[in-house]
C-alpha cells in the first residue's frame, strides 16, 4: 500500500514571496504523482501531475513540482504567490495512472498582503 505525507498543515506566506509545499510518499511499486487544489467552498481541481518523462512538471497558475525518486518527494513550488493562491493543496499518489488516488492530509496555503 502507498501513503502520502504532507509535512506542513499550514503555510503562511506574504504576497509575491516564493513558496514550497512539501510532499513525501511511500510505495513498494512505481507511482504516479498529483497535486490538487481546493479553493474555498469548491471541489478539488487538478493542478499538475507526473506520469513519466521529465521530473520537472509544470501546472496551471504558475505552479511546478519536481519528482525526486531517491528522496521519494514531489514538492510543489511557485516563485511568486498571489492572494488568489490562498487554498488547500493536496498531494496524491496512484499506482494505476490516476484512478485510485491516495491523498495526503493537505496543506493550507495562506497568502497575506
Amino acid at each position: 500500500a502507498q501513503s502520502v505525507t504532507q509535512l506542513d498543515s499550514q503555510v503562511p506566506v506574504f504576497e509575491e514571496a516564493p513558496v514550497e509545499l512539501r510532499c513525501n510518499y511511500s510505495s513498494s511499486v512505481s507511482v504516479y504523482l498529483f497535486w490538487y487544489v481546493q479553493y474555498p467552498n469548491q471541489g478539488l481541481q487538478l493542478l499538475l501531475k507526473y506520469l513519466s518523462g521529465s521530473t520537472l512538471v509544470k501546472g496551471i497558475n504558475g505552479f511546478e513540482a519536481e519528482f525526486n525518486k531517491s528522496q521519494t518527494s514531489f514538492h510543489l513550488r511557485k516563485p511568486s504567490v498571489h492572494i488568489s493562491d490562498t487554498a488547500e493543496y493536496f498531494c496524491a499518489v496512484s499506482v494505476d495512472a490516476g484512478n485510485m488516488l491516495t491523498f495526503g492530509g493537505g496543506t493550507r496555503l495562506m497568502v497575506k498582503p
Binding site: G43, L44, Q45, L46, K49, F90, G98, F103, G105, G106
Partner: protein, 111 residues
C-alpha cells in the same frame, strides 16, 4: 466543462437516520468516486464504481453503501447515521486513467 453536481451543500441529520447523498455527472464518465474529507486526514476513499451496477470498496467503506443504477448518478447511503460520520463528502468522476473532476461537496452534520 465537466460538471459534477452534489444535491446538497449542507445537510443536518439525526443519529440513526438513513441518509442519501446524491451525485450526478454530465460527461458520460465511466468512473465515479465517493470520498470523505476531514481536517488533517485529507481525502479518504469510501467507495468507487467503474460501471453501472458495479461497486468496489475503498479504504473506509464501513457504515456506508452505494448505488449506481444509471451511469450519470452515484449515490452514497448511510444506513444508520452516526456522529462519527459528520464530515465533508466529495463526489468525483473521471474517464479511465484521466484526471478526477470533483463536486463542491456536501457538509453533513449528524447530531
Amino acid at each position: 466543462d465537466v460538471k459534477v453536481t452534489q444535491s446538497s451543500r449542507y445537510l443536518v441529520k439525526r443519529t440513526g437516520e438513513k441518509v442519501f447523498l446524491e451525485c450526478v455527472q454530465d460527461m458520460d464518465h465511466e468512473n465515479m468516486f465517493w470520498y470523505r474529507q476531514d481536517p488533517g486526514l485529507g481525502l479518504r476513499l469510501i467507495y468507487f464504481s467503474y460501471d453501472v451496477k458495479m461497486k468496489e470498496k475503498g479504504d473506509i467503506p464501513e457504515g456506508y453503501s452505494v448505488s449506481r443504477e444509471k451511469k450519470e448518478r452515484f449515490s452514497l447511503i448511510l444506513e444508520s447515521a452516526s456522529t462519527n460520520q459528520t464530515s465533508m463528502y466529495l463526489c468525483a468522476s473521471s474517464l479511465l486513467y484521466e484526471k478526477l473532476f470533483f463536486g463542491s461537496g456536501t457538509q453533513l452534520s449528524v447530531l
